[in-house]
């Protein structure tokens, strides 16, 4: 909440603003590996954005930085007008908890833990009281069409169902950004469709900023804006067919 207040000081600040982001692995060692060579990216609240690029081009590395899981080696990243380069480890956890909803290719649900408890987790970490957690988690599971599976554990769910639970979990603390790294990569085309429709709906109806990382050109084509990464540079930033009307 602290971060929201700070952000409001600068109304005009974009949700995400990246300038000259460089990421180097094994920095200072002989096998030093620069993956991102200076990415510039600005994302406004409510955008639906696809980041495309070949496998190994550095999409996931970029997503980790956007999602405040990692810090850039060089460059400035401001989220909601706040310089993420200055955030401590605990502050980064708190920002992830409040502002970012992650959706992974391999779902990453917590095992031996029901769908309901999975969705509760971010709220538990945010210190929400039990009754509110339960109510919200049930509502969210309902909204992704998983209302009848709340007691199921991950090993009792299909891939598409797991991903819907993961989306419900990503929405738990009402984050402004949904970060999805190849969310349909492990799903067949029919289930992929359901997941994509869910993202469209969330963007349209709840004004969520959705950043979809994918190597699939077809999926990217659905998005209003497409950023293409090649070998660690963002080479083009094209507008999709047209912006969805936000009102």
């Amino acid at each position: 909440m602290r971060f929201d207040k700070l952000a409001n000081i600068n109304e005009a600040a974009p949700l995400i603003s990246m300038e000259g982001i460089v990421k180097t692995y094994y920095e200072g060692q002989p096998e030093e590996l620069e993956i991102l060579h200076g990415i510039d990216l600005t994302v406004q609240e409510g955008e639906f954005l696809a980041i495309v690029g070949e496998s190994g081009s550095g999409k996931s590395t970029l997503m980790n930085i956007i999602g405040v899981l990692d810090k850039p080696t060089k460059g400035l990243y401001c989220l909601d007008g706040l310089d993420m380069g200055l955030a401590s480890r605990d502050a980064m956890s708190e920002i992830r908890n409040r502002k970012i909803g992650f959706i992974f290719q391999n779902f990453n649900l917590i095992g031996r833990t029901s769908a309901l408890q999975n969705v509760e987790l971010p709220m538990l970490y945010a210190g929400e009281p039990y009754s509110r957690r339960i109510r919200k988690a049930k509502d969210l599971l309902e909204s992704v069409g998983m209302g009848d599976r709340i007691r199921h554990q991950p090993n009792e769910l299909s891939g598409g169902q797991k991903q819907r639970v993961a989306i419900a979990r990503a929405l738990a603390n009402d984050p402004s950004i949904l970060l999805a790294d190849e969310p349909t990569g492990a799903l067949d085309s029919a289930t992929s469709r359901i997941i994509m429709d869910l993202f469209h709906k969330l963007n349209r109806e709840q004004h969520k900023t959705v950043i979809l990382i994918t190597h699939s050109k077809e999926l990217a084509a659905e998005c209003p804006r497409i950023v293409t990464i090649r070998d660690g540079y963002n080479v083009c930033d094209t507008k999709g067919a047209e912006y969805n009307d936000i009102s």
Partner: protein, 436 residues
């Protein structure tokens, strides 16, 4: 609520790996059950020994005559003059019986009483005058005849059943009275005779060939519960006023030994030392004999000390078992952290701070140890109760030992769970998420 959630998580991961969890807990279970069982059995042993000694005369101090230790021969142990040394040793080792002149006199006792009056409850003097078989034509009963003073019943913890106890006047006037055990009453006058009817009855006794008539003045009961019995089960003590007894048996006035019962508030150990000094001072000029004060107290203390050392030794073994158990817990927690690296990464991505991850794993380690500790306590109680029944002194398991054992097992969890938990907390979320 995070705490409860963590306990739930810990339990569910234990349930998922039941056998692994049990094997991990084994060291803790063995260690804790050993501690609880040892403390319980140790309490039972100490209790039963103390009970017997208390019954025997608790903290009474006995002053008795003994032979003085002769200074050792100077050429002892060299072997060069074997024959000569042997002769000398034989001479000095010859037991010297206390003669009539060596006995503790009533004057000494009187003096002692006036000096230590505030520290003593009773001074009991008694003299074994021999055994006797009494017969009334129908029944027979064997008795040990004791001459006793008025303090004797108090010092020997006799309970009055009927009649009255011996008094100072009985002593001074050498009254022809006797006190008998309640068992004697039924034995001698028939099983249906009640102690009340025994009062005033006449008994014919014979001491050193002299016959005498005495009248039963009281019936007593010994409060010595088992443990020590004199001679056979049916031999009881028949008590006479000591003055009368000595007169009848033709014994000198002095005593071979006296028993002192310290006052409740007295320092028993100090009193024993002072008593010893008091009586031995009368024997400084005596070549062979001295008087020495001994007490059960010191025996009880050394017994307890041995017990405590034994407890300590076995507890050390239990501690080693707990240490090994703790290392086992640490090992399994390291495995658990590694296995769940990815889960840790996901939790961090969802906003769990490092501290919370550490907390989760510490709680898990503590839960493992507490469950192990709990099973260990139950097993220890079982073993302890069985053990205390074997030495037939049932005790309740010590609550403090249980509390200490359980908190100790939690402490083991905290101590040995900390490092793995810290390792989990320090994981980099990216590396954790990429972990395969």
């Amino acid at each position: 609520m995070i705490f409860l959630e963590n306990i739930r998580l810990a339990l569910s991961s234990l349930v998922a790996n039941k056998l692994r969890a049990l094997l991990t807990m084994l060291g803790i279970i063995i260690g804790i059950s050993a501690v609880v069982a040892i403390v319980t059995v140790g309490d039972a042993m100490t209790g039963s020994v103390n009970q017997e000694l208390q019954a025997f005369g608790g903290n009474n101090i006995t002053v008795g005559l003994q032979q003085k230790k002769q200074p050792a021969a100077p050429s002892d142990g060299k072997g060069s003059s074997a024959a000569g040394a042997d002769a000398a040793n034989a001479d000095s080792d010859d037991p010297v019986e206390p003669g009539e002149a060596d006995l503790i006199t009533p004057a000494m006792v009187g003096e002692y009483h006036s000096v230590f009056a505030s520290q003593i409850k009773a001074i009991s003097t008694s003299e074994n005058l021999g055994s006797l078989e009494l017969s009334n034509g129908k029944e027979k009963a064997s008795v040990l005849i004791y001459g006793v003073n008025a303090d004797y019943p108090k010092a020997e913890k006799l309970e009055l059943v009927e009649g009255r106890m011996p008094t100072q006047t009985d002593m001074e006037e050498s009254r022809s009275l006797a006190w008998v055990d309640e068992k004697f009453v039924t034995k001698y006058w028939g099983p249906r005779e009640v102690p009340k009817n025994a009062i005033g009855k006449e008994l014919n006794i014979e001491l050193s060939g002299r016959m005498a008539k005495v009248y039963v003045a009281g019936v007593y009961r010994t409060s010595l519960n088992g443990g020590y019995s004199w001679g056979s089960e049916d031999t009881t003590k028949l008590l006479l006023p000591i003055s009368l007894g000595k007169k009848l048996a033709g014994k000198p006035e002095g005593f071979n030994s006296i028993t002192i019962m310290p006052a409740t508030e007295a320092d028993d150990v100090a009193l024993q030392v002072n008593t010893d000094a008091f009586f031995s001072s009368y024997y400084t000029q005596n070549r062979h004999i001295t008087a020495a004060a001994t007490s059960n107290e010191s025996y009880i203390k050394s017994m307890n000390k041995t017990m405590n050392q034994l407890k300590l030794a076995i507890s050390a073994i239990a501690a080693i078992s707990l240490l090994v158990g703790g290392i086992g817990v640490m090992n399994i927690m390291m495995v658990s952290v590694t296995e769940r690296t990815r889960e840790i990464g996901v939790r961090m991505a969802l906003g769990a701070k490092g501290g919370l991850i550490r907390f989760q794993f510490v709680v898990e380690a503590i839960v493992i140890c507490l469950i192990g500790g709990f099973i260990g306590v139950l097993a220890g109680i079982g073993l302890g109760i069985a053990g205390s029944h074997i030495i037939s002194y049932p005790v309740r398991p010590s609550a403090s030992a249980i509390v200490v054992a359980v908190s100790f097992s939690a402490a083991i969890g905290l101590f040995f769970g900390w490092y793995p938990a810290e390792k989990a907390a320090r994981l980099d979320p990216i590396d954790a998420l990429r972990y395969e």
